[in-house]
């Protein structure tokens, strides 16, 4: 039987806007995935620790504070340091389109901006997680 996809929904930095993170978390869960939500104010290291401990297939990072160019690449780098580059990293939030190429170059697979449907995100994660 196919293994259930496990996703860590993470809020990095000091940003308190968690509506999007919670909506996504619930939508992924309703789509049959196992979802762990970190809660607020996680450092990139805490996020990576949780991802490894929970053995997730995907880390979905929500950020609306403008600190994305600093914090998102850090998560990818730390995952690499932990030999966990097979974990898919996606991001979402108030992220200007012109920052997306930089984030992708840094290893964030996809960035979902305001107005994206939860189905789009669900499909993307389903099609892009690397099976273990």
């Amino acid at each position: 039987m196919e293994r259930t996809i496990r996703v860590l929904v993470a809020k990095p930095g000091l940003d308190g806007h968690d509506r999007g993170a919670k909506v996504i978390a619930r939508a992924l869960r309703d789509a049959g995935m196992e979802v762990i939500y970190t809660g607020l104010r996680q450092t990139p290291q805490q996020i990576v620790n949780a991802a490894i401990q929970e053995d997730v297939d995907c880390v979905a990072i929500s950020i609306l504070s403008g600190a994305h160019n600093t914090l998102l690449p850090k998560v990818v780098d730390l995952l690499r340091d932990e030999d966990a580059s097979d974990i898919l990293v996606v991001g979402g939030g108030v992220i200007p389109g012109e920052d997306i190429p930089f984030l992708k170059e840094k290893g964030i697979s996809e960035v979902f901006t305001p107005g994206t449907t939860t189905d789009t995100t669900i499909e993307y994660i389903r099609n892009n997680v690397k099976r273990k």
Partner: protein, 558 residues
């Protein structure tokens, strides 16, 4: 509101109308089976005197400036004075923000509203490891009195009123403001403004909490007490529904949860021995204004009426000012779209009308580009001009509460009041707002509403122009405002210089005295003020309080 005989006639006519309409609907159906408000409440086809027959004018509406203030807190409202056009702003450094404030005042803005960056809001200095990447991003970075002196340089604090969106460390920022004023030769009694200081909604929805509930409530009541004696014109709290609504609540939840928070603050202050009329006149509120014009107008009126009743009946307030719900409004950030961002100007105009027809005391209008980044100067100007057009061209300010007596508005006002009251009763049963937050009840209710809202958009039950209908291919917008990464480095350097210059013995002594005050029962405000004046940093002061009080642990549920 109508005599019996006439009502009977109207009731019969309404039945006939319903019958004949049903017939014609069978031939030509309406556009939708159910018409829903933005909050998901069903909206009836047509309203008549029958729908408001139980509403007693003198008891439930009365005239503006009279209990229960449904029609407004002042007798003349905008005929006397327009609302304060208060644009929330702040980014990068104190120098850059100071420039933006001067520009806003020169363009006819009538009050300042300071946005702080996240490290400041959470009580960390710019050189803290958790501040990395966040310095100056969503607001201005303030590490010490030195930054605050630059922020208000050249702005006479006896002439402007200043609102500061600061919560967990509100006491520290207020102390800095008082200290800057003192240096300008302006005494505390003359200061006018507001600190948000509403920790409960931080736990519920906004997330910039530091300390656990109990010491947080103590800090708040310390501020109430200190200001009632020393800064009498200062609004000591802005009890906020704004962020509750942004997190996804309905209009009725926004009112219910916000007033439940308000009740908790009043109870906490009374429990410390304060007389309700000594602090209640300085309580103020902060609401959201979304797109559903009629629902929003009704919401503001319902909030005013319900709070007046609570203050009079539950808390036995005697001073009418204690019963008046005065509020600031901000247009709905979450209603703005990243797609076709110029459309947001129209949304904001509708939301402005709702706030004004709902009787707001001050208003921030969002800028069209806020779903993308912090607003540019051009966008901010259009947002401010939107308020000025409503104020001076639309005519809605000529008479007070012009929609009163509308069958729909009065019926909806009553409906929202009843729904909100039901939430307050439920929260009372759970032991009050702090308990209902600790056990996650309030957050869960909001989350359920937020999820419904998202589903409605995805199934196109709700239309969002440019997002799920009337879409176009568009280029990603250019010329967004960006905050330079060098802001963080600059702040770090300033901190180093400050620490080398200041009298470190005085800092140490003042921090020690503050620690002792935190451990005991004294009002901490005078101790914070002394620490601030000796240039102790925000992070140092909050650090001392963290040591004594500990930190809040969020309950995480999805």
């Amino acid at each position: 509101m109508f005599d019996r005989d006439k009502l009977d006639d109207i009731r019969k006519a309404a039945e006939l109308f319903e019958e004949s309409t049903q017939k014609s609907i069978r031939k030509r159906p309406e556009r939708k089976e159910n018409f829903m408000s933005a909050s998901g409440d069903e909206v009836g086809r047509v309203f008549s005197p029958v729908d408001v027959e139980d509403i007693d004018y003198m008891e439930e509406l009365n005239f503006p400036g009279q209990y229960p203030y449904t029609r407004g807190v002042q007798p003349t409202m905008y005929r006397g004075r327009l609302w304060t056009m208060r644009m929330y702003a702040g980014f990068a450094t104190a120098e850059a923000s100071n420039e933006r404030y001067k520009l806003l005042l020169a363009q006819g803005g009538s009050g300042l509203s300071v946005a702080f960056d996240l490290p400041t809001q959470i009580g960390y200095d710019s050189d803290h490891s958790l501040a990395e990447g966040e310095v100056g991003k969503v607001g201005v970075a303030i590490d010490s009195l030195k930054d605050m002196e630059i922020l208000f340089g050249g702005i006479p604090l006896d002439k402007v009123s200043t609102s500061m969106t600061i919560n967990a460390p509100a006491a520290v920022l207020l102390a800095m403001y008082i200290a800057v004023a003192e240096k300008q030769g302006v005494s505390m009694e003359k200061l006018r403004g507001t600190i948000q200081n509403d920790i409960l909604k931080e736990y519920i929805a906004r997330g910039t909490y530091i300390f656990p509930t109990e010491p947080s409530m103590r800090l708040i009541t310390n501020i109430f007490e200190y200001c009632s004696e020393n800064v009498p014109q200062w609004n000591t709290i802005s009890i906020s529904g704004y962020h509750i609504r942004e997190a996804g609540s309905t209009a009725a939840q926004e009112v219910g949860f916000t007033l439940a928070d308000g009740i908790a603050y009043v109870e906490a202050a009374i429990a410390t021995g304060l007389d309700v009329d000594s602090f209640a006149p300085r309580l103020s509120f902060f609401f959201n204004s979304h797109n559903d014009l009629l629902e929003e107008i009704s919401k503001f009126r319902a909030a005013r009426r319900l709070w007046a009743k609570i203050m009079k009946e539950r808390f036995n307030a005697k001073n009418p000012k204690s019963m008046m719900l005065k509020f600031h409004t901000q247009t709905g950030g979450s209603t703005l779209t990243a797609q076709q961002p110029d459309n947001n100007i129209v949304r904001v105009a509708i939301q402005t009308l709702a706030a004004v027809l709902g009787g707001t005391q001050s208003l921030h209008t969002n800028s069209r580009d806020e779903a993308l980044a912090l607003p540019t100067e051009d966008s901010v100007r259009i947002a401010l001009r939107t308020q000025q057009i409503v104020a001076h061209e639309s005519g809605v300010t000529n008479t007070v509460d012009p929609l009163a007596g509308s069958y729909f508005i009065e019926s909806k006002t009553k409906d929202i009041e009843e729904q909100a009251y039901a939430y307050i009763k439920k929260i009372d049963e759970l032991g009050g707002a702090p308990k209902a937050i600790d056990n996650g009840y309030i957050q869960q209710e909001i989350m359920d509403a937020a999820y419904r809202c998202q589903k409605d958009i995805e199934t196109e039950r709700a239309v969002v122009v440019g997002v799920n209908k009337f879409t176009v291919e568009e280029e990603p917008p250019k010329d967004l405002l960006r905050v330079d990464m060098s802001v963080g480095e600059g702040q770090k350097k300033k901190l180093q210089e400050l620490k080398a210059e200041r009298d470190s013995q005085a800092v140490e002594a003042n921090l020690k005295a503050l620690k002792k005050a935190c451990e005991g029962d004294d009002n901490v405000m005078p101790f914070i003020l002394e620490a601030v004046k000796s240039y102790a940093t925000l992070g140092e002061i909050c650090g001392v309080m963290r040591e004594v009080f500990g930190e809040y642990q969020q309950s995480v549920r999805i």
